[in-house]
Amino acid sequence: MTDLADRQKLSYIAAQAADARLNVELETEGMTLNIGPQHPATHGTLRIIVRLDGEQVIWAEPSAGYMHRGYEKLTEVRTFPQVTALVNRIDWLGSFANEVPFILAAEKLMEIEAPPRAQWIRTILFELSRIANVSLFLGDLGVQLGAITPVFMAFRDREHVLNLIEGATGGRFHPNFDRIGGLKDDLPAGWIAETKQVMKKLRNFCDEIESLLFGNEIFQSRLRGIGVIPAEVAKQYGLSGANLRASGVDWDLRRDQSLPLAYDKVDWKVWTHPDGDSFARCWIRLQETREATMIVDQLLDGIPSGPVMAKVPRIIKVPEGEAWVSTENPLGEMGYYVVSKGDLGPFRVKIRSASFNNISIVPWVLRGVYVPDVISILASLYFILGDIDR
């Protein structure tokens, strides 16, 4: 009869074995390598266990959860404004974009709409967070492939966008600016003119990156034809954002659903690419960044005047109901399924994050590629750990 200590030890050993994936039914040839959780290439603490035959991957498995913070449990004990502050930190590079679907879901349940000025400013800040997020991706893409110079240009130009966001909201990384019914504050004086200047700089940056990085033959030979994801597989796994559009699927939540944001008031283009390889994904993100700067320019020209906050009670009790809102976040489709019971805070919030689905395809897409391609495919899929692990 094993006593408690032995049983605990046995279960601990069994857990370790399971964690290390020492699956003895598989062939024992091939070397098992842990990429991560501490690794320069993974954007955070992602661990990918690969089994290699020389340099070729036989089998790959991401092991997420090193950054799991229990968001969905935390939202159950917080009020709606507190959840807004919490939710900033899921995708921390484009933080404002995380708040928007949640606020829109709450507004749907309350059946109020933010005033037009707030909607436009929300859209502008949304696109700014997209630019901030994706410009870092573009720089980081170079680093993953060995080009160490573009990342400095990316950070330099991204600083301008972060300063803009700080000027409007008070926070560079975690603005916490959206409120149910509108925004916390109006824009400061001179912000619009400065934003126009910054958008020009960012367009220059996009051109620079396009010629420096995307035009490079080595870059293209590293990415073209690598990690091809057909459209059918992409839809099955729920890939979103640039990953989906790179496989030729013409789907953009900004255009294809009606939300109280100002996208239908401006002229812009959805970029797709038929190839579905890593180069397509990266290329589309570059084009979308440029497109975002042009959207912001058009929006700046036409912001309606008026209040930025609708009439909402001081203590907000959201009526009973369920609502689902998803938006085209920088990383992909991010959505919140908010269940409310008429309380000060939600009853259950299901956070559908883009990177969770984007990374679930990794075991499928990494079969048979080389180790350097593992890095470049991960770089092109683009994830944020906070988004995967919530």
């Binding site: 320069p40 340099e55 060995g146 590293r222 350097p372």
Partner: protein, 350 residues
């Protein structure tokens, strides 16, 4: 030579000091000027500014930092090989510099098989890298070592073949004679600038520089290190003093290869002999101040070539291993073979 009669032990001491300077000075200058400053300016930042005026003492600060670190090794590493590997890599640099001429009388040693010796000895560093990769008991180091094995051996061949063109043109493998020939020959009868072999061996020069970039495992050929994949490749488990040796070896070898390239292709330590009326057949006619001017000229040429190596390093992404190999075997070797053929034909014709 000077009238002073220097005893043999003093000569050996001078040679040791000179060798150390010849290896470390290029390394230090390259690290500061190019790695710290040029790379920073290209990336629109300033680089180290604190240590010394404009950060010039940064390298000393770094050396001090690494020297005072604990000498650790992984538990399951093969300790003797683990400890020896960095020394092997650095040793090949010192051996390489032994045969490079710095002036008419400023050389460590000179013999008729100089080029042959140089090419042979440059592959000792490959051994060191393999030793580091294998003995580290780390899968990343192993991958880096395996990649290094394939890459460094593959790129030996274009290097050898590129140099062969120069040897055919010079008619000798003695490096000092190659320098003399470059500075005293005439191009189609005009000897205004001597005859640096880069003019006719431009293909060979290009192949040599690419091969050197690969031998130094610099981007775009830095698969063995591949910082975003293998953390540091074969150097992952090294820290402190041993990492310092790898670091110095990397940049010292870059400097020494640049020295060799300037000897083979750019005319080495010399200025065209016709400018000063020296006699190529008798090196004694070359003035004594060339023993000071020669190293300075070599240093300048080395810095130019090292700048090119570093500039490419900071600009390009890296090749994948199989693309790298394909490039060596299917592009560089045929091109350099063609170069040799053409050189031989043209040499006989003219």
């Amino acid at each position: 030579m000077f009238a002073v009669d220097v005893p043999y032990w003093a000569q050996s001491l001078l040679r040791v000091l000179g060798g150390t300077v010849a290896v470390l000075l290029p390394a230090g200058t390259i690290v500061y000027l190019f790695l710290f400053k040029m790379m920073s300016f290209m990336q629109s930042r300033l680089g180290p500014m604190e240590a010394g005026p404009y950060g010039s003492m940064q390298l000393f600060a770094e050396v001090g930092k690494w020297l005072q670190k604990e000498d650790i090794a992984p538990e399951r590493a093969d300790l003797r090989i683990f400890r020896a590997a960095p020394l092997v890599v650095l040793m090949s640099t010192f051996l390489l510099v032994a045969v490079v001429p710095f002036g008419p009388d400023a050389y460590f040693t000179q013999f008729d098989a100089g080029v042959f010796y140089m090419l042979a000895v440059s592959s000792i560093s490959t051994l060191g890298i393999l030793m580091a990769g294998w003995s580290s008991a780390n899968k990343y180091s192993l991958l880096g070592g395996l990649r290094a094995a394939g890459q460094l051996i593959a790129y030996e061949l274009p290097m050898v073949l590129a140099v062969l063109g120069v040897v055919i043109q010079a008619g000798t493998m003695n490096l000092q004679q190659i320098v003399v020939k470059q500075n005293s020959d005439a191009i189609f009868g005009w000897d205004g600038i001597g005859f640096p072999y880069i003019l006719t061996q431009f293909v060979g020069f290009l192949v040599f520089m690419i091969a050197v970039q690969a031998e130094l495992t610099q981007t775009p050929f830095d698969m063995p290190i591949a910082e975003s994949e293998l953390v540091s490749g074969y150097m992952t488990e090294y820290s402190g003093f041993r990492f310092l040796i790898f670091f110095i070896a990397e940049f010292a070898t870059a400097g020494v290869f640049a020295l060799i390239a300037s000897v083979l292709f750019l005319g080495g330590w010399g200025v065209p002999f016709t400018w000063f009326g020296w006699d190529p057949a008798n090196l004694g006619t070359v003035d004594n101040w060339m023993n000071v001017g020669g190293p300075l000229i070599m240093f300048t040429k080395m810095m130019v070539l090292a700048a090119i190596i570093m500039w490419v390093r900071f600009s390009y992404p890296r090749f994948r291993e199989d693309q790298l190999q394909r490039f060596a075997w299917k592009v560089l070797i045929p091109v350099s073979l063609l170069n040799i053929m053409l050189t031989a034909i043209l040499k006989v014709a003219f």
